[in-house]
């Protein structure tokens, strides 16, 4: 891979492969299959997470979970998969109209469609103390 020309060729090949992936339909959104999926994902938090209350966005694109101690976990989409986060630095949640809640943190964002559950979860989120502080 010496010299600028092979590197330029490699860059072209990269762009071609990315275009092929997009063209074949691999630019898909993440979708939770149900409460079990969300609960399993939350297990990756330090010490695990046992939800007593859970709401999944109607499009499957994220979820909010609360455990017995009142701690809230957020499941946010990243590409075709998810990340699990606790409210921490620069975290906020706000209504985004029509039952939608926008949840945003340092390295994640989710637009959750919780319908009638939205207002209740917004109240829970506003009471959730940022973790580790």
């Amino acid at each position: 891979m010496s010299g600028p020309l092979p590197l330029a060729l490699a860059l072209l090949a990269v762009l071609a492969l990315v275009a092929l992936a997009h063209w074949l339909g691999f630019s898909r959104a993440a979708k939770l299959s149900g409460p079990d999926h969300a609960t399993a994902l939350a297990q990756s938090l330090p010490g695990g997470f046992s939800p007593v209350d859970l709401a999944i966005s109607r499009d499957g694109g994220g979820a909010l979970l609360r455990d017995a101690s009142g701690q809230v976990a957020i499941i946010a989409p990243v590409g075709a998969h998810f990340v699990v986060r606790l409210p921490a630095n620069r975290f906020y949640a706000r209504p985004a109209g029509k039952g939608l809640i926008e949840v945003r943190g340092e390295d994640f964002a989710a637009l959750l469609d919780l319908g009638e559950e939205g207002a209740r979860w917004l109240a829970i989120l506003s009471g959730a103390s940022p973790a580790g502080q």
Binding site: M1, S2, P6, L7, A10, L11, A13, V14, A16, L17, V18, L20, A21, H22, L24, G25, F26, S27, R28, S44, P46, G47, G48, A76, V78, G79, A80, H81, F82, V83, V84, R85, G105, E106, D107, F108, G132
Partner: protein, 294 residues
Amino acid sequence: MGFDPLPYAVPLFVLLIAAELLWAKRTGRMAAYETRDTAVSLGLGLGSVVAGALAAPAVLAIMAHIYSLTPLRIGWAWWAWPLCFLADDLAYYWQHRAGHRVRWFWASHVNHHSSQHYNLSTALRQTWTGFLAITFVFRLPLVAVGFAPELVLACAGLNLVYQFWIHTEAVGRLPRWFEAVFNTPSHHRVHHATNPRYLDRNFAGTFIVWDRLFGTFEPERDDEQVRYGIVHQLGGFNILKAAFHEWLAIGRDLVRAPWKAKAGYLLREPGWSHDGSRETSAMIRRRHGIEDAQ
């Protein structure tokens, strides 16, 4: 500079990734790839070639210096190649194991693991900061016992090329004798998994025998779905974050931690914390009732 197999392999890599994309589409395995994830993986691969080329003269000079100090000479006889490949694979095993057990080395290796997908493009998520992490020290003993530096680097390159094809879900299990000796897609899926039982297992490069020998082998189970990536998954597709995030996290921890704990954040295993607020692989395995074999 001696023989570098990578430029010869790259066209093959490109063709095989295209073929795997078409296979995934045809068989309806739409979870196999994600466009932005693929872009980051391939971008990291491209960047690692540049980083490697920039570091190569310094690495070669250090190796040449050690070679000049040792009276031992193995030379370039035909049998020096398989012998060097085997020795280099053993060195790779320990480099890779350290890459998972020492946060300093993990900071350089984590980007290979930060995709939640497992496909041939994942193989190209190679480090940009290997030189910074001085991971090449694991190869220096080979030079010290008399292998020529160019031979060692060529074997390291061949080892890397071997590891490309095992990053796939398209291959299930191979014949038993092959799975017993070689690192395979099945063994390496385990290595990329975040399932507690699979954490920090199967560090092999080419020969899986090292994991069997040193107690880090874990076979893939048919009754457990593999989840890929890292315990604290990356929140986006910023390639610079993918390349450097753990170094930045180390920096933050070093600033914040009390003096007595600072070295721990640098040299202990990833997930270690002085106040127990995080989890190491061993802690996660214990939480799920999995005994450590070691």
